[in-house]
Every structure is written in structure tokens, then in C-alpha cells.
Symmetry: C2
Subunit: 665 residues, 2 copies
């Protein structure tokens, strides 16, 4: 009968898949696009809003900077997408920025990229899910009290889907992403058309004023620059996730690199159009939002109870005719769905990167192991756990979470573009063919531009976000970097110590095999252990017991005579009633007497069917075994005796599911 | 360098003691009296009070029943002490009631006594500590808010003292008990002398009236009988702890039985004098108490804030001249101390009874193991844990706890006296000598009286206390009874299965020894395992590997050739990337092919110095070992490789304290 947990696992995750099925899970472009692009595309749902939120800290007057900031973000996105097309083609093995930087700059810099990306994958899940929940609450305000619970619920759902394996989740995710793209394009198109026809949509918040934050009125000079740069930093969230495609190249159908590059281009074009469209529409419809709803003026009712709708919700309501129109619900549903699914980008990227890092010995080996459904299950579970903690800790608040977000993205952008410049330099040195050199010069120029621009943005992000929460992301990434280096050192030391330098030394047979059988009383397992030990024909065989009290010893000696056991019985006195220490000390003394001998310590053990049955027996044998393993030149031989289970004596003990083992009492 | 935890343990518990020191811990009478008698003596501090509290539920008018109830309790105590003197002399081995009942009635009835006593030991600690804290609060009312914390603190203190071993705790406990006895006798003497001289002491509560509980006015017939019987039941708490002496006989100096009987007699006389004296004095001084202080009339101030002093505190203040007299503080300090130390009776009795039950296979073997200081540490810790939970659950309230208390005492009284009657019947059948027969007849009469009287009290206690909390004590004792029977069944089945019926069968050598060495890659531990396996000269030797991915297999096969290993390599395909299942299935198939052979499975393992290093390696080998132990006819041979610890490579790995082990990655 299968275990309940097994049945449950099958229901949630599906049947196990054979290793050969791995190639079947490769993705065609039309499915790879929604999987890898749902993140940058869906960030349309919050990037514009974050720009507006920062600018209105100074008051509505500063909203006129919005188009310029949006234009900068669009330009930046074009540069990044162009740069990454080159990465994908030059390094199609899926290491993405990590591989580029490790190869061209060095492993330490590569590890910086890896740490940054790991942190950012977590943030992608947290921000996307939190924003998705925001959009659900915009449509159904009564759910506002369950924000964190909903967010965690979505993460759990994503985890289960991803444990089922990548292709099935891909198919599942294709539809909503396309529905979202279509919906936003129609909304932007309709809105702008109405504007051109003189019937401009008007947001519900158009009439609200905003009280600037203290000290933010009449900004000029440095303060104004900082405000604008902070708004720009927040808008750069639109660029997150471009990285995911370069890490996901191996999941594409062949030709992998070309398919990935095409997907990147389509994604970039869509993202630019949607982001620019939504931003323009938000300005046209006069959307007014504030981080603290109590800074909004002209509200009806109490500001504390006022739940602001997201920018995308306000636009949908304004364009399609209110909060009960079909269009509004369609946009909100599609937005929420695509945002939650955008988190899936990270659920694809994070375990893949972990597995590559594990393969390079920077993370525990377990992360390189594929689960029943060929997904990297351990990485998926780690991501889910950390994200849930983060959502819970930050109350699933998008604006708070976003401060931790884009730092890692731009660290990896900057380093990988720098790495690509070095890559082209090397290529240029290697070739003299004029046509190739020309192409390489162009490529290098693209990547150099990318490096300078993203480096600049990195400085801006650091300057404007560090004190607002980004310090935590920096700290975690730094710790992660140090941890990965330590792990690598451990594996390296381990491999060096175990590598076979001289096979003859290692292969040499011990001069003699001595056998010791541990006994406490004469029972069936004891006699079996003695018989097995004898069957090895050791040079010397003796039984060893520890005398804790006189009565037990006397009984043992009586049994020894009664059963006519012709093996010498060695008795160790233990005045302090210890078992382990006298045995280990005796074993060491035997070893000292014959350093070239090997000692086999036979331990009669019984195995019981239920874990609670172990509570009824001392755990001496288990403890003893683990201590003996630390004594050089000793083999520990467990001679098990399978006890029939008390509840189901007819059932073969070997199949007992919760089975565990202990030594003699 | 010793571990911090070791140092701490030494500080709290003291240095380890050799088993031979056991006889040194025997107790002279003058120390045994305070140890075993502090419980019945200290109950003077609450028994009178509980009688008054119950009677005043009906109003002050019913207080005139007090002398009669006290007289009944005194008579009962005389009967019980006389009966137990016979138990102690007839059964000096320390099983007390448990042994008497098991021997004379049967093991099931004996187990009823054991379960009742275990519950009652817990209650002794809880009630005594709670009452001790009450008396401290009577002297220092500002501590009232920390009742539970103080109670738990005292339990922890007692635990630490008892872990140090019985004799040292005895010495520590002698002084306060004698100070308490002296103090109470002086207080009673002074008070009664003042009364005789016409200057009767007057309690602070003498002027208070008490409003009877609804429905309790003008009681008559059955209701009145019930009230009086309930008061009597509560007064019977004075008898708890008599049992302890009979369980503690082995801790007495020789002649054990006579010394114990003398101690019992002295204890009984002291208890009777003190209890009667305090009760008379309480009536003389007109002490008025109520379970609910809001039923007291004539209070100055708010009744909810009114903290009633204990009866003993009120008496001390009345006799010695107020709440700031030296006499008052002396009595309160001695009372509190003796009550907390009375809990020590249980800390002596509970582990001793547990150890006897463990020896009889009714409780886990661990409870029969003596700790470093020769105390039964596990029993002490179990008692401390349960008591702390109880004190926390009942807010350390004496009156609530007392309802759970005396049921078990009287169950064991009744059964043990019945058992003693049977004992004398048997003795009478065995002897014809007239003088002996006369003595036996007298003894039987004493025990028969004891059985009838305590049986009657048991019925009274059950009838008056069951719904007030005693049901929980009954339930717990019943569950404990069932649990102990199940544990015994497990041990019996276990012993029967392992007992050697026919030594020749068990001793027979297997026809051949086959050896399998598990390998995943060729490293030093692999070669060592192969060499060790070969040194046993098995009939057949092969290496076994599980092919999870093609690359690893290819590397292994390449290494196999490179190192010219002349052992055949068997490869198991594992399309679902499992390790354990294919190995176990292969081992079973080998076993099926030669059922009379024995199979030695060699597992190269490495051991690391730090527990966290295990996280970096898959736990496949460990899992595999525990599964193989469930396969009949298989020996599991661990061939360890001690890795130098990363932090302290110069330190012998064998000494690593938190050391643990794992298999190959």
C-alpha cells in the first residue's frame, strides 16, 4: 500500500519522469516568450506607478518630468536588449551574465553577478506577486485585509506548478501573458484614440490634489535632481527580467541562441510600446497617486480607510467606463494573472542558476539534482521559502519591496557588459578578417555603451535607494558571495584530500584483519554477529563487553558458558557507567599495537518497524557507531536483526516505511 | 578543551561519581526523616486551611465541624502509619505499595498502584511548591504577580539539587525541616499558653464575616453530609507522603527496615501533634478564610485586590505580634522553605519508582540508568517537566491543584492494605507456632482496619472530588496504566523473539560470504573500501554503481580502467534518478539466488568534523545504510575516511565533539 505522503506528492507534482524525457521539455519561441518575458512585460503594471509615486512626493508640479524619465527608461531598455542579444549569441549555454563575467573578468566578479542575481530572483517573485495582489484588491477592495495571505498563497501555487516541470508550466502561462499584452495594447490604443477624438479619458483621481512631503516643496538644484533620479531608479524596474532570457537559453528549442535572441527582440519591442503607452495614457488621464493616501486632498471620507487603486486599474476604469465595466475586470484579471505568473520567470531562472553554481561547487550539490519531474526541486523550494518570508516581513508592500529590487539587476548588467567588451577585444585580437573585425567593432561599441549606461544607472540606484532598503539587498548579496566562496573552498579541499595520488598506496591490503564483536547479552543477534564475524576468517576474533554493573556482567558470563561460545570475552570495566569511551579507547589501543592491521568492529543491531519503538531502547549502539567512524583504521560492521513490527507482525519488516534503526539496548 | 556544555554541567551537577560510591549515599535516620517526612509534616501548612475553606462555603456556622473533621484525619493518620510500619518491615526492598500489591494481589493491580503513585508524586511537587509560594506571598505581598514564575523557579532549583545526588540534597534539607517543626511547635505552644492565660491570640480575619455560597445556606441532610465529607477529603491531604518512606527503604542505612519503621513512627507522631495543634489554634484565634475573597464581609477596600494570608501566616502574626515581628517572618520563611523542600519527597520517590518500573519493563529502560551523580537523572527530569506544565496550567493555585491530589494516595493505601491482609493470610497458613500466629493475627487486624478505613476514604474522595478536577487525575492514571502495559508487551515480545532457543541454528556459519562495494567515483575512500573488502577474502567480490547520468558513469568507467582495478564493476541503470531502490532490489536478487549466503555491503564513507559540513554532501549513503539494514541476510560495512576539519586541520578528527558522519556525495 503506498504511503499517504506519496499519493499526495503524485497528485500535486505528477508521476515521476525518466531522465531521457529531459529533451522533450525544450520550449518553442511562442511558449518561451510568455515564460521568460512575463516579468519585463508585466512590470508595465507598476513601473509607471512607481515613477508617479516618487515625483508626487514633491507635489503634482513635478509630474511634468514623467515623459522625460519614461523616455530615459525606454532608451535604457533598448540599449540593454541590444546588449543582451549579443550575450545570448556569444554564450548560449545558459550561464548568462554569470558565465560572461566569470569567463571574461574572473570567477570572483562572476560570483558577484551570481549573488546579485540570486537576490534579484527572489525580489522578482516578491514584487510581482505583491503587485498582482494589489491589482486584485483594486478590483475587489474587500480582500484588502488578506494581502499577505493571498501573496503567500500564490507563491505556494507557483511552487507546486514548477515542481511539476518546466514545459507544462510554460503552456499554462502562455495564454494569460498574451491576454495581458492584447488587453494593454487595446486599452492604450482606445485611450489615445479617445484623446485624439477630444474625448480624453479622466482618471478617478484626477480631481485629487497632493500635499507635498515636508521639505519637498519648491525643490531646486541637488534636491530636485535627487527626486528625479529616484523616480528614474524606480522606473528602471521595467528592465528587470531581461537577464532571465540569457540564463534560459538551454531551455529553448534549437537553434537555441537564435531563438533566444529573437525572443529578446520581440520582448524588448513589446515592453517599450506597452510601458511608453501606459505612461502617456496616465499623464493624459491625469492619474494622481501618493505613497501615503493621507497626502491626497479632496478625498471623500477618511483618508486612512482610503484604498488607492493601481495606476493600471484607474486607467482601465477611465478608458472602458467605470469599475463595473467588462473592460476593467478584464484588464485587472489579466494584469493580476500575468504579474503572478511573472514570478514564474524567477521560478525558472533561480533553480537553473543555482544548479549551475552547484555544478561549479559554489552551492551544495543537492541543488544540481533533478526531482521526479526533472525540475531542480531543491532550488524551487528554497526560492519559495525565502520569498514567503520576505512577503510576510514586508507585508507584501510593493513600494517597500521595490527599494531592494533593481540593484542586483544593474550590478549584473554592468559587469556582464564590461565582460562582453573584453570578449570582443579578445575576438578582435584573434581575427584579421576585415568583415568579422567590423562586426566585432560594432558589437563592442554596443556593449561598451551598455556598460557605461548601466554602470551610470547602477550608481544612481545606489545613491538614491541605499538608505531606503537597498542596503539589505547589498548585505545579503555580500553574505551570499562569502558563503559561496566558503562552500567552494570546502569542496576543493575535500576533492584534493580524496583524490588518488598513488593508487598502489591506497590499494595496499592491511597486514591482518582483527575482528571485535560487541556484546551486552547473549541473544539471537549476538550469535548471528559472532557467526558472521567468524565467516570472514579474521586473524583474531574476540568479543568485547563493557561492565556497567556486576549483575549484568555475571549474567553475560553465565550465558557465555551455557551456550559454550568459544570466542574469548574481553571485559572493560566502566566505573562511571559510560559505554562509548571505554570501547573507543580499547579500539585505539588495539590499533596502536598493530598500526598496519585493520580492525572490524561488529555491532549486532536490531531494526524496529516504528519510530516510537526506538524510544524504548537505549541508543548506545548508534552513538557508538558514529564515534567509531572517527577512529582511523576501523571498519564498522552492522549486523542487523529485523524485528517483526508489533502492530503488523505479518508484514515484511523491510518495507516498513517510517522504519529506523537502533542498536542493542 | 572541554565543551562549554560540559563545564556548565559540571558546575550545576558536580563531578561524575564512580558506581562504587553508591553505598556511600545511604541515609541515617536524622537525615532520612526530613527527606521523606517533609511532605506529611509540611502539609500542616495547608491541610487545616483547606478544611476551613470548604466548610466556610456554607458559612461560618459550619466551622464547628472542624474539630471533628480534624480528629477523623488524626485517627486516619494513626491507622495509616501503623499499617505502613508493617509494609516497611515486610517489604524492605523499596517497591512499597507497588511491590506489596503486585506480590499479593497481582501485577495488574500493582500497576494501578504504580500509575496512581506516579500521578501523586507529580501532584506533591505541584501542591507543595504552590503552597510554599503562597506563604512567601503572605509575607511579601508585592510578589503576588510572579506566582507561577516563582513556582517554576523552585522546581528548577529542586531539579538541579536532585541531579547532584540524594545524600547531598538530604543534608541540605535537614535543617529547614527541623526549623519548621520547632517553629510550629513553639507557635502552637505559645498560642495555646496565651489562650490558657486568658490572652487568646486574635487572627487579622477574626472580624470578617463570610457570605455563604448560593444554595449553601441552611444545609441539612445529604447536602450537609457532602459539605462535611468534602472538608474531610481536603483535610486528608495531611496524609500524603506517608507512602514515600515505604518506597524509600533502600535509601536508609542498615538495618533498613527497622530504621524506616522508626522514622515512620516519629513522623506520624510529629504530624499528628502539629496538625492538631494548628487546627485548634486556628479555631481559638478565629481565622476566617474564603475561597473567593469577595465573599468576605467587613473588608476595608476592594475585595478583588484583597490577598488573603494563609492560615499559618495569620496564626503566626496573631501569636507573635503582627506582620513585622521576627516570629512571623521566621514561621513564614520556615514554612515556605519546608514546603518547597517537601516537593523533594517526590523528587526522591518518583525516580526510584520509575526505575523499579523500568526494571520490570513497564517503562523505558533509560529510566533505570543512573546519571553521573548516581541519581536516576531521566526520572528527575521527567518529573520536573510535567510539574512545570501543571503549575503553569493551573496558575500555581493550591486549591485547584488539591482536587487532583489525594485520589492516588488513597488508591494505593487501600490496595496495599488489602495486599497486606493477603500477605498475613499466607503467613498464617505457613506457620503453626502460636506466638508468631498471634503476632500475625494482630498485624492482619491492623492492616484490615487500614484497608477498610482507607477504602472508605477513597470512596468519599471520589464522590466529593471527581467533578472538581479529580477526573483528570483518574484519566491520566488510566492512560499511564495502559501505556505501561503496552511497553511491557513490547519488551516481552522483543525478548521472546531474540531469546536463543537453539544455539546451533543461530551459530551456523553462512555457506559463502559475498562482498559488494558501492562506488560512485574513484577516490581514496573507494580504493580503501575495495582493499578492506578484499582483505576478508570473500567468495565473490564486485563493485556496484548506480548510473544516474551518462557523464558520471563514463567518468567512473574511465577511472576504473585508468587505475587498473581488477574488480568487476556492476552498473545499475536508474532512469528515475533514484539510488536506494535499485541497490536494495539488486541486493535482494543476489540474496534470492543464494539464500544461505551472507552478503556484506561495503560503503565507503567519509566523516567530517562539523555538522554543517554535512549539508554540503548528499545523504545518500546514510539513507542507503538504513534501508539495507531492513534487508535480511545483509551486513552493512562502513569503511570510514576521516577528513581533516576545515577550521582546525591540525586537530585529530576523532575528538571533534559535534562530529557526525555522512556517505559519499
Amino acid at each position: 500500500m503506498p504511503k499517504v505522503t506519496d499519493v499526495l506528492k503524485r497528485l500535486v507534482i505528477g508521476r515521476a519522469r525518466r531522465s531521457e524525457e529531459l529533451t522533450e521539455t525544450l520550449l518553442p519561441k511562442r511558449i518561451a516568450l510568455p515564460i521568460f518575458a512575463s516579468d519585463p512585460l508585466s512590470s508595465v503594471a507598476y513601473a509607471t506607478q512607481e515613477i508617479l509615486l516618487v515625483l508626487t512626493l514633491g507635489g503634482l508640479a513635478y509630474l511634468h518630468f514623467t515623459p522625460w524619465i519614461a523616455a530615459a527608461v525606454v532608451a535604457l531598455m533598448a540599449v540593454v536588449v541590444l546588449s543582451y542579444r549579443q550575450v545570448v549569441q556569444a554564450y548560449p549555454s545558459g550561464g548568462g551574465s554569470y558565465e560572461v563575467v566569470s569567463t571574461n573578468i574572473g570567477p570572483r566578479a562572476g560570483l558577484v553577478v551570481a549573488a546579485s542575481l540570486l537576490v534579484d530572483y527572489v525580489m522578482t517573485v516578491a514584487v510581482s506577486v505583491a503587485s498582482g495582489v494589489d491589482n486584485i484588491i483594486s478590483a475587489l477592495p474587500s480582500l484588502a485585509a488578506h494581502r499577505v495571505l493571498m501573496a503567500v498563497g500564490f507563491v505556494v501555487l507557483l511552487t507546486a506548478m514548477n515542481l511539476r516541470g518546466v514545459r507544462e508550466s510554460g503552456r499554462l502561462f502562455a495564454a494569460p501573458t498574451y491576454l495581458f499584452i492584447g488587453g494593454v495594447l487595446i486599452m492604450v490604443g482606445t485611450g489615445l484614440l479617445r484623446y485624439l477624438l477630444g474625448d480624453a479619458p479622466v482618471a478617478e483621481s484626477a480631481a485629487y490634489g497632493v500635499t507635498p512631503k515636508e521639505g519637498n516643496t519648491q525643490l531646486a538644484g541637488l534636491a530636485l535632481t535627487m527626486l528625479v533620479l529616484r523616480a528614474f531608479s524606480s522606473g528602471c524596474t521595467a528592465l528587470t527580467g531581461v537577464e532571465a532570457v540569457s540564463n534560459g537559453v538551454p531551455a529553448f528549442r534549437r537553434p537555441k541562441a537564435r531563438n533566444a535572441a529573437t525572443t529578446l527582440a520581440v520582448m524588448g519591442a513589446l515592453a517599450v510600446v506597452m510601458f511608453a503607452g501606459v505612461t502617456v495614457l496616465a499623464l493624459v488621464a491625469d492619474v494622481h497617486v501618493a505613497q501615503d493616501p493621507c497626502r491626497l486632498t479632496g478625498l471623500a471620507g477618511d483618508c486612512h480607510g482610503h484604498s488607492q487603486r493601481t495606476v493600471i486599474a484607474q486607467l482601465a476604469a477611465a478608458v472602458f467606463g467605470g469599475h463595473d465595466s467588462v473592460g476593467f475586470y478584464y484588464i485587472q484579471a489579466a494584469t493580476a494573472l500575468v504579474l503572478v505568473l511573472a514570478a514564474n520567470t524567477a521560478f525558472n531562472g533561480f533553480p537553473l542558476l543555482c544548479s549551475i553554481l552547484a555544478q561549479n561547487s559554489y552551492l551544495p550539490r543537492q541543488l544540481h539534482k533533478r526531482g521526479d519531474r526533472l525540475a531542480f526541486s531543491n532550488g524551487i523550494l528554497a526560492l519559495a521559502l525565502v520569498t514567503c518570508l520576505l512577503l510576510w516581513g514586508y507585508d507584501a508592500n510593493v513600494t517597500s519591496l521595490i527599494h531592494l529590487y533593481i540593484l542586483g539587476v544593474f550590478t549584473s548588467f554592468t559587469l556582464s557588459q564590461t565582460g562582453m567588451v573584453r570578449h570582443w577585444n579578445r575576438e578582435l585580437r584573434a581575427t584579421t578578417e576585415p568583415a568579422r573585425r567590423r562586426r566585432h567593432h560594432v558589437s563592442r561599441a554596443v556593449n561598451a555603451t551598455g556598460a557605461v549606461v548601466t554602470g551610470l544607472v547602477l550608481v544612481i540606484v545606489l545613491a538614491t535607494k541605499f538608505t531606503e532598503g537597498a542596503w539589505l539587498a547589498v548585505l545579503v548579496a555580500a553574505l551570499l558571495w562569502q558563503l559561496m566562496r566558503s562552500i567552494r573552498r570546502h569542496y576543493d579541499r575535500f576533492a584534493a584530500e580524496l583524490a588518488v595520488a598513488d593508487p598502489e598506496t591506497e590499494r595496499r591490503l592491511p597486514s591482518r584483519v582483527l575482528a571485535i564483536v560487541l556484546v551486552s547479552t547473549v541473544r539471537k543477534p549476538t550469535l548471528r554477529a559472532l557467526a558472521y564475524a567468524r565467516s570472514f576468517h579474521p586473524a583474531e576474533l574476540e568479543a568485547l563487553t563493557v561492565a556497567v554493573d556486576a549483575a549484568s556482567l555475571e549474567r553475560l558470563e553465565r550465558q557465555w558458558e551455557e551456550f559454550e561460545i568459544d570466542v574469548p570475552l574481553k571485559v572493560l570495566q566502566s566505573p562511571y557507567r559510560e559505554i562509548t569511551r571505554p570501547v573507543v579507547e580499547y579500539v585505539r589501543s588495539v590499533r596502536r599495537a598493530g598500526p598496519r592491521d585493520v580492525l572490524a568492529v561488529f555491532i549486532p543491531e536490531y531494526v524496529v518497524g516504528h519510530w516510537w519503538e526506538n524510544l524504548l531502547h537505549n541508543q548506545t549502539a548508534l552513538w557508538l557507531k558514529s564515534r567509531l567512524l572517527f577512529t582511523p583504521g576501523v571498519m564498522v560492521v552492522s549486523v542487523p536483526w529485523q524485528l517483526t513490527s508489533s502492530a503488523r507482525a505479518d508484514r515484511p519488516a523491510a518495507r516498513a516505511p517510517g522504519a529506523s534503526r537502533r542498536g542493542e539496548p
